[in-house]
Amino acid sequence: MELSDANLQTLTEYLKKTLDPDPAIRRPAEKFLESVEGSQNYPLLLLTLLEKSQENVIKVCASVTFKNYIKRNWRIVGILVEDEPNKICESDRIAIKANIVPLMLSSPEQIQKQLSDAISIIGREDFPQKWPDLLTEMVNRFQSGDFHVINGVLRTAHSLFKRYRHEFKSNELWTEIKLVLDAFALPLTNLFKATIELCSTHANDASALKVLFSSLILIAKLFYSLNFQDLPEFFEDNMETWMTNFHSLLTLDNKLLQTDDEEEAGLLELLKSQICDNAALYAQKYDEEFQPYLPRFVTAIWNLLVTTGQEVKYDLLVSNAIQFLASVCERPHYKHLFEDQNTLTSICEKVIVPNMEFRAADEEAFEDNSEEYIRRDLEGSDIDTRRRAACDLVRGLCKFFEGPVTGIFSGYVNSMLQEYAKNPSVNWKHKDAAIYLVTSLASKAQTQKHGITQANELVNLTEFFVNHIQPDLKSATVNEFPVLKADGIKYIMIFRNQVPKEQLLLSIPLLINHLQAESIVVHTYAAHALERLFTMRGTNNTTLITAAEMAPFVEVLLTNLFKALTLPGSSENEYIMKAIMRSFSLLQESIIPYIPSVITQLTQKLLAVSKNPSKPHFNHYMFESICLSIRITCKANPEAVGSFEEALFLVFTEILQNDVQEFIPYVFQVMSLLLEMHKNEIPSSYMALFPHLLQPVLWERTGNIPPLVRLLQAYLERGASTIASAAADKIPGLLGVFQKLIASKANDHQGFYLLNSIIEHMPPESVDQYRKQIFILLFQRLQNSKTTKFIKSFLVFINLYCIRYGALALQEIFDSIQPKMFGMVLEKIIIPEIQKVSGQVEKKICAVGITKILTECPPMMDTEYTKLWIPLLQALIGLFELPEDDTIPDEEHFIDIEDTPGYQTAFSQLAFAGKKEHDPVGQMVNNPRIHLAQSLHKLSTACPGRVLSMLSTSLNAEALQYLQGYLQAASVSLL
């Protein structure tokens, strides 16, 4: 393409078409441009257009097209390959680099930004080696005095240098930085000084100031990038200049730069924020060198805080600034900066207290955006808020000055409470601040699970509770001063481990009462507080608050909880639902009288939310509550399972038919629970569903796998013979599911669960034809991708198989797959790996299975496998004598739903749908050690002398000693 007017014209037309809303016009134009972008001069045509076109829209369009072209094509990837040729010829590259900087600088801002981006893309590849004069060219512009040009240079420099903030240290990188520093640091410093001087000469010229401050912001950002990797010699030598000026900028104010906007941060705020970042960078990384300046910054920053208003636009600046102070005051060597009583008082009074005040914006959030308010206040997603920052500062100060700070604040708390007492309806915010202050002062460590775990001993929490919190909650009007009500409830919640139990018991009816409050925050907090109180532990691992103590309140509690779900804004309130679940779990059989009404309300809720599930936690606790209702009721009256099925199946069917993905895993779990409640043969309603459960689409969703496996296991337990007789054609499909699961490292254990149930429950003849296939599949997985988890499950399975079908059958099927296979598995897998098996039941299965191999498998006695007999026995004794795994105590009530194991986004295991551990050898073998002794005895009777001679020649002494112990315990001896 020549640089001709005709080509410029053509290009203009095509560019114009790329802006057309009609794809039929736009797409071909885009295609055309792409097809010519490999031509020589194409980028130069674009540059000409963006400079000279008569139409502004074309200029902008050309600049964007140019930037994208550079982005796609500038980089030459390694050695050139056929399909990725170098589309930009060398002469174009040279021409672009020669022209782009002046062009960028003379362009209007909109185009300047595009070109600046393009420069940084080019720079990333070519700078510094292939673009040696870029820096000089940029630096020379600093002298131009034209701040439009200067800002262009600064912006470009920023986009070139900002990668220093995240790249690894390397010779190449540091060589570049050194080069940049040599050429750039001094001019930048001079520019910085000059700009600051200009700011004072133009102190009365608003538009000039805006440009100058934009420069200062960019300069401050460049400072951050250039100082990020390490403290450069130049900046260490010139720290005085930079820090002195940064310091004075922090203290600078100019009416002309103040903005009217309450929300959006202005130039002044942005600059000061960046300076706080720069100071924080130095304080974190170059503490030793920065130490002389740090005190000044501390002072400046707290003065800044003292003089900064309450508007939202200052929030980031204020919280940055407070966090800076908080991080500094915790360090031992800066302790002295804060220890003066006057300093402490002034920080407390002027920095902390004002930023803890309840602002108009908070009030707005409390009323209109309560979800966000709760999230911030309760769940700590308040990292950038002023209150949080102020709270962190209190904690930081308390590290060294707990006594003095507590003393200072006690005075404030008292005076604020007095203000409140004078005129509550006007001064209620004072009390709010007082409570917040006490809370932040008293709490030293906090977890979601336990509330405050470490408190400031200088604060009398119970006294404050009795004198200032309880009275508010006792007030007859639940809707008065909602903020204070929420504060009070929150106080109970977080200090629940500090306030004595009798006070907590007194609070329970008050909390139940506040479930009726109209304010979403108040009734949510009440529900949450109850839920937390119900999970507190007393002695002996029981709940602190017992069902008996709750007896007088059961009805009102349940009523108010369900009523709270009907309050506006709380129809899917997860805190309330969680409180319902926790109440059921605590109250147990005392809820039975209310179950008919409860289950109706829950199923209605379920139906309603299944239209559009949006609150995962709410839904989860709802299903947990359903499970609890079923368990508690059926424990007392197993027949009741039918009425639950009646109530639930209609909704469940709808959920399955509409494929409500979020709910399906839950439905399977509830169905498993119900099915397991049945004592007799599987009901036909379940059988009708069976083929649908094998549909691949269900198994493709990872979240479905654990509950579906569990459900299929329940089917096999209750209905194996029905499946064998009525659904034999579905057995391959069932095994297909097993195969699907076994193929996955994540899900293979689920495949084994299923397989174990099949082997345990299905009539042998129904799976006979598939048995060999099953083993081949397992061996294949073992060979190709062995993991510890797989081996553990595999060992349990083959031993279960051995128990079910006999040791000889196991040996025969192995050897029918490949000669000597049985020996190989014994030698390479069972003997070396058996100790990895964990879990009581799993170990027992393996012990019994191996005992069978040792004593009921003739080839072990008279073939080449005999040499494995002693090693196998030794491995078995090892399995016995390993320390037992810690069993999990039966305290599911305390399980925090978020903390249940099995981190998987899609699957949420219902704690209360849990099933009891199944022990397939429970009845057969009680004590596996004695069982071994007895079996050996039997074997030795069958072939006298053989066993004893093997033992005495090869078994190691320690194992032999253990074995003699077993024989003694079983009162048998070997012949």
Partner: protein
């Protein structure tokens, strides 16, 4: 021109070899050279220094005579011994000014060769002395200045003066030679080749005055100093026995300089470290590491830090000398550079075999390490992260469990917000190591929870947005590996005609 901080790192060809190799420091420095922590390469003798032997020449005020530079040149080049002495003394005095001594002007007078001549005038001890002093001060300037002295032929003359019967003259030439040796490896080796070492060592005796001994020690330390190349091995072998005696001395300055000398000698390949280990000096170094004087502690720590970059046996020698008992205090030292060097030393011990890691645990290094990670200086925290990284690479599962129990996870995860991409990456690699250990114990889920509880998961998820590609990928990798699942596609069943999974597999030969 400051000494490049020793950055080589043990590499035993373990999995983490690549990780450790990266510890070789970039040779480009952005920082200002720090001089406060080590001795000066060159020393000028100024008139203000009046204490003891530091100013062996006595100037009485009435002797002070002014001469112009031209007059000095004339007199020095003349034949009048009296004037020669007078002019040399005036020149020496000018050179001894504390501020801006006129070294260049004196060199430009071209009188250095003449002064070198004066050195050999055994009959005029006063002139020998003044000339040696003047040359000492010229050599104390820049490399350029030192070169002028060397090119004036001073080296052999100064070396012969070492055996001068006048102690103050011999001491003066020790000083001058020290300045020349301090310039760099070339002149250092020039001195060694002129056989300076035996004459220097001969000066060390039980009756040598302390002040003199200080000078000798310092000059010896400069003969041990500098790399590229290192001083010849046979020279090192000659110096070492004397150095080992000097380091036992009770004078602080002698200790300091001999410590620095040992630290230079250990800053090299393992065979050089071995020479030092063989002298049995390690227990003394460890003792000095525990000194309350920063000036003593610093080079002793540096030397031991260098030793543990060596082989497992060399590291074991340092452990046997008791380094692990001293390190906790140093990890808690108020001075950031000490914290950092101590952590660096520990990181190399943690890179050793699991027996050494066990000793690290037994000696109670984990609590101070956790403290350092929690609130140490940033430079030290970075080294602390390396300790943990190496520990988790070479430690046994039990040891890693012990590490986690010590509370390392919280500060480690906090440092994921550090302003340094490399540190973040190493922490992510360390987390992967921890997960591998957890997998072996079947405790993966527990670790997942712990990481989540300590706000680590949130931070790792955030790092998936990190601008640095490797950081981003490492974070993504952890999330994918430990916070989701994976498939074994070759065993995946097909879907059959009935819409259900087909159950089928092709048999292959098995061999486990």
């Amino acid at each position: 021109k400051h000494r490049q901080h020793m950055r080589k790192f043990k590499n035993k060809g373990k999995d983490a070899a690549a990780l450790r190799m990266q510890r070789v420091e970039v040779s480009i420095e952005l920082r200002k050279a720090k001089k406060d922590e080590q001795i000066l390469k060159r020393r000028n003798i100024s008139l203000d220094v009046k204490e003891g032997s530091l100013s062996p020449g006595q100037d009485r005020p009435d002797e002070v005579i002014q001469l112009s530079l031209e007059e000095i040149a004339e007199a020095v080049n003349g034949n009048n011994p009296k004037l020669q002495l007078l002019a040399t003394r005036v020149a020496r005095r000018l050179l001894s000014k504390q501020k801006d001594p006129p070294i260049n002007q004196i060199i430009e007078l071209g009188i250095i060769p003449r002064m070198v001549e004066f050195l050999s005038g055994a009959d005029n001890a006063a002139l020998q002395f003044e000339a040696a002093w003047a040359l000492t001060n010229i050599a104390s300037g820049t490399s350029e200045h030192t070169r002028a002295v060397v090119e004036g032929g001073a080296i052999p003359a100064l070396i012969s003066l070492l055996s001068s019967p006048h102690m103050h003259i011999s001491e003066q030439s020790v000083w001058a030679l020290g300045n020349i040796a301090g310039d760099g490896p070339v002149y250092r080796d020039a001195l060694i080749n002129c056989d300076a070492i035996p004459s220097l060592l001969a000066l060390v005796s039980p009756v040598t005055p302390v002040g003199f001994l200080r000078n000798i020690t310092w000059t010896l330390s400069n003969l041990c100093r500098n790399k590229n190349p290192y001083p010849p091995l046979d020279a090192v072998e000659k110096i070492l026995p004397v150095l080992v005696c000097l380091i036992q001395h009770e004078d602080k300055d002698i200790i300091i300089d001999s410590c620095w000398a040992v630290s230079y000698l250990t800053d090299g390949s393992n065979d050089r470290i071995q020479l030092v280990v063989d002298t049995g000096v390690l227990p003394r170094l460890v003792e000095l590491m525990a000194s309350t004087h920063l000036m003593v502690m610093t080079p002793a720590l540096r030397a031991i830090g260098n030793v543990v970059t060596g082989t497992d046996q060399q590291t074991q020698a340092a452990i046997d000398a008791g380094v692990l008992a001293v390190l906790p205090r140093l990890l808690r030292h108020t001075k950031p550079t000490i914290q950092k060097e101590a952590a660096w030393t520990l990181s190399n011990i943690a890179a050793g075999p699991c027996q050494q890691i066990q000793q690290l645990i037994t000696c109670g290094l984990l609590p101070p390490l956790v403290e350092l990670l929690d609130k140490g200086d940033f430079k030290a925290q970075k080294e602390g992260v390396w300790v943990v990284a190496n520990f988790t690479t070479g430690g046994t599962v039990d040891q890693v469990v012990e590490l986690v129990r010590s509370g390392v996870l919280k500060p480690l995860l906090n440092l994921l917000s550090a302003k340094d991409s490399k540190t973040i990456l190493i922490i992510l690699d360390t987390l992967s190591n921890l997960f591998v250990a957890a997998e072996k114990l079947g405790e993966t889920e527990k670790l997942c929870l712990l990481v989540e509880e300590l706000d680590g998961l949130e931070k790792i998820e955030d790092l998936q947005n990190h601008e640095n590609n490797m950081v981003y990928r490492a974070a993504l990798n952890i999330i994918e590996k430990y916070f989701s699942g994976e498939e074994n596609s070759d065993l995946e069943p097909q879907t059959g005609q009935d819409g259900l999974y087909d159950f089928s597999v092709e048999k292959q030969d098995f061999n486990f």
